[in-house]
Subunit: 198 residues, 2 copies
DNA sequence: CGTCAACCGTAATCATCATTACGGATACAG
DNA sequence: CTGTATCCGTAATGATGATTACGGTTGACG
């Protein structure tokens, strides 16, 4: 029972943190505000997370784990690699452009130490790229794509798929995309990629 | 003499603001810090810019004007449109990924009101896109490119050129690119664009 | 039932700013 | 030369918020 309720509690606290972060930004999100919203005490927050940065570090790590799990599930489905790309792209877009990821990116941009940014990059791009590379290499093995540098090919795919949407979201000039929009964009990215490397 | 020295003074103040912003981020940049570094007084800052946001608003607007001016100069050179793209791309990259623009984007990300973000978008993408569209339409007129939606074509070009580099810079995981890197990336973007729309 | 650790609500520290105020210096105008 | 506007350096003022401290509750466990 103990672990269970504690995990619930953490969940509530992190929900509260996201809620404030999405609503007021990093600077506007105070530890006391999080505690109040989560009906937790300051002491608990500090005892669990150490300090403010520790709390956000926890958010980033948990979010990255969820992203990775979802993408790996897509990969595990063992479809033809073109289908995998069609499934992966929209999902990745929804994740990267969703309120959560955007809030975390804002926090990273505001964090003077740069630690959050490093974490996001490491647990974000750096853990997603290998998965993309894996799909692309499979596509190459199926003779669907032709390229030498798998990393460059993955970069090209990400450019076509994501482009500058993340920065526009972070700056507040792009709304959350609909699922249909992500599907469309994902399909276009695949089409273009095959045109370029097919 | 009056206007002259005042412009100089503003320049120094804005330099100081950039220096702090680039070094400590938006949250870590205080009005008092700017005043101290620029050897100006608080009173002057407030009398000239109104408030903190006003100062950053001024930075954004001035920066946007410079970007626009440089790009329009490239356009005015009246070369074949493919050459124009080759000149425009690297320049745009240097501007979008330079320390200044990145610092401003960080400020916008940290700004809870979203006003800075709106300004950056308006004076940034919204004023650059028309120029890109113009070049691409010229290229279409020369029968170099084929497309229906000029806006979509410009978006594709920007995706290929800029990709997710801006967000990575803002988060602190990408260093300032060298001029050579910008040249290379600009050339690759043009190659890909012609492959896709040629 | 009693003990104890963990948690809650609340308040106390301690710093850091944004913003405002003030007295002296400087410069340019008349 | 004197007045006036502007700027400088420096010091309030007032809020906010991270971090720490503390007495009271509560629920698990013996």
């Amino acid at each position: 029972m103990k672990d269970d309720s504690r995990a619930d509690r953490q969940q509530q606290i992190e929900e509260a943190a996201y809620a404030l972060l999405e609503q007021k930004g990093y600077a506007g999100t105070s530890m006391q505000g999080i505690a109040r919203l989560a009906r937790a005490s300051n002491e608990t927050l500090y005892s669990w997370y150490g300090d403010k940065q520790g709390l956000f570090r926890a958010l980033v790590i948990r979010n990255a784990a969820e992203v990775r799990a979802l993408l790996e599930a897509d990969l595990a489905a063992a479809r033809p690699s073109r289908d995998t790309l069609h499934a992966l792209g929209p999902r990745l877009l929804m994740l990267l452009l969703g309120d959560r990821a955007v809030a975390l990116n804002r926090a990273a941009a505001a964090d003077p130490s740069g630690e959050l940014g490093a974490l996001i990059a490491q647990s974000g791009r750096d853990s997603v790229m290998p998965l993309i590379v894996q799909v692309l290499k499979a596509a190459r093995a199926e003779r669907l794509l032709r390229f030498d540098d798998a990393g460059a090919a993955a970069g090209l795919y990400l450019d076509l798929l994501v482009g500058d949407q993340q920065i526009r979201r972070v700056i507040g000039r792009l709304p959350v995309p609909s699922e249909a929009a992500c599907q469309a964009r994902g399909a276009a990215a695949v089409t273009h990629l095959f045109r370029l490397l097919g």
